[in-house]
């Protein structure tokens, strides 16, 4: 999906939910979220939902409520997209803890019956660093992270948060490798 197609899919999903008398608020992260913010341009496969918003609280999006997953699949069929083009992918992030102040940095977009909350750039740096350390510097996550052009302070904050999710020494070594690849030569001492 490019940005135009993703925007179209979200608009049609919002109108469809509205027509079906449904209302959902979802919180999205990942590459498609970055694309919607105009921070990267690469085509993506799906839009990852980390949480639903219910009564102002973030709750697990796993599994999607059936009327929502049905509507997503219906829109996918119309636009020839995967039936799970919007999916509750990385909801374990919610269980292990989102970065401090995450909710305050969300940006909302309204599409009919769908409210899409997009994670801000600072939080996306956290998620992308965590994913890049997990999947090496050749991954799309590393490329996205580089495209975000993070400062050293942002990377260090992201590194600290990432280690709360995986405190193992092996993960730390991978993290350091990614930080060095991003130009932080003294990462081993600071992360």
């Amino acid at each position: 999906m490019d940005q135009g197609l993703l925007d179209q899919a979200l608009a049609i999903l919002g109108d469809t939910l509205d027509a079906r008398g449904l209302r959902y608020e979802v919180v999205a992260i990942g590459g498609s979220g970055l694309m919607l913010l105009g921070l990267i341009a690469r085509p993506t496969k799906d839009l990852d939902v980390v949480a639903l918003v219910e009564s102002g609280e973030l709750v697990s999006a796993q599994p999607f409520p059936t009327p929502l997953s049905d509507s997503v699949a219906d829109v996918g069929r119309l636009l020839d997209l995967d039936e799970r083009w919007l999916n509750p992918g990385p909801t374990e992030l919610l269980r292990f803890g989102l970065p401090e102040g995450f909710e305050a940095r969300l940006g909302a977009r309204r599409y009919g019956g769908l409210t899409l909350h997009l994670a801000g750039r600072f939080d996306q740096i956290h998620f992308k660093l965590y994913a890049a350390a997990d999947q090496a510097t050749t991954s799309k996550h590393f490329a996205d992270l580089r495209a975000l052009d993070p400062t050293e302070e942002e990377l260090l904050a992201a590194a600290r948060w990432s280690q709360t999710h995986d405190p193992s020494e092996g993960f730390r070594q991978e993290l350091v490798r990614v930080l060095v690849a991003l130009g932080m030569d003294d990462a081993d001492a600071r992360a």
């Binding site: 179209q8 608009a11 049609i12 109108d15 469809t16 027509a19 049905d70 509507s71 219906d74 829109v75 069929r77 119309l78 636009l79 020839d80």
Partner: protein, 298 residues
Amino acid sequence: MPALSDRLQEGALELAWSLWAELGVSGWRRRHVSHAIDPEPLILFTAFLGDTDPRLRDEATDWCIGYGRYVSAVRLRNLLSKALPEERRAFGPFAATINAHSTLRWPGSTDPRQYQRTGRARIPDFARPSLVVLRCRALFGVGARAEILRTYLSDSSSSLSAADLAHVVGYTKRNVADALEALKMGGLLEVIPQRNQLRYRSARTSELADLVGDLPGDFPNWRSIFRILETMLSTARRTEGLNPSVRGVEAARALHELTDDMRLAGLKAPPFADAGEAWARFESWAVVTTEAWASAAV
């Protein structure tokens, strides 16, 4: 131009009238003289159309009261269990009205409507080719046995398992297995073990055909055809006034839900090359399909 729902409804009524005319209901041109009529799906479909044509509803009710002994309550129940919710709801008063004016005990009945019998629906016998299903029932009894035999009459080369047949005839697998065993014992069918399954085929096709008499040229899968029509009509009604994109989504959903029925009815879905044109394509496909069925062109 009239709304899509009006155009589809008109075609659906035309089709229903033509099929009821085959069954002996007066006042309409018979177009389906060479199509085997399947009563239970037609009754459910007529109930679904309900008040859109009170005369059709009342004439069909009249026929059901007069000839309901040739209609299977068991098959109605089985078909109802897989029916759309709107169809089930609509069948309640239809069945209740028939039960109230006869000794029949049709399933799914709710409250009867006001109804005065006309007694106009009359047919001297089931000799018409299109009435082969009723003729089989008159000869072999109302039950799975008659439905199995008409299935083999429609395609004498069929080799089917009890599960295949249960799906086709609308009876439970157990009913069908019992009937198959009896027909095998009677010499009309033969059994071929295939891997871990028993498959049945006609053993005396020509004798059976001679006994049953004139056959129609086509044995349409009316259950699937009516389900497609009902879904198209429901989709058109439900989405009236919505924007074309949302109507396109609903069309895509309807077609997805109808995948099996379209295969069984030998129908191809319209291609959706462009999402913006999806609704327009669905609309013209639905109209052409309905008109073709109503005019007996397919």
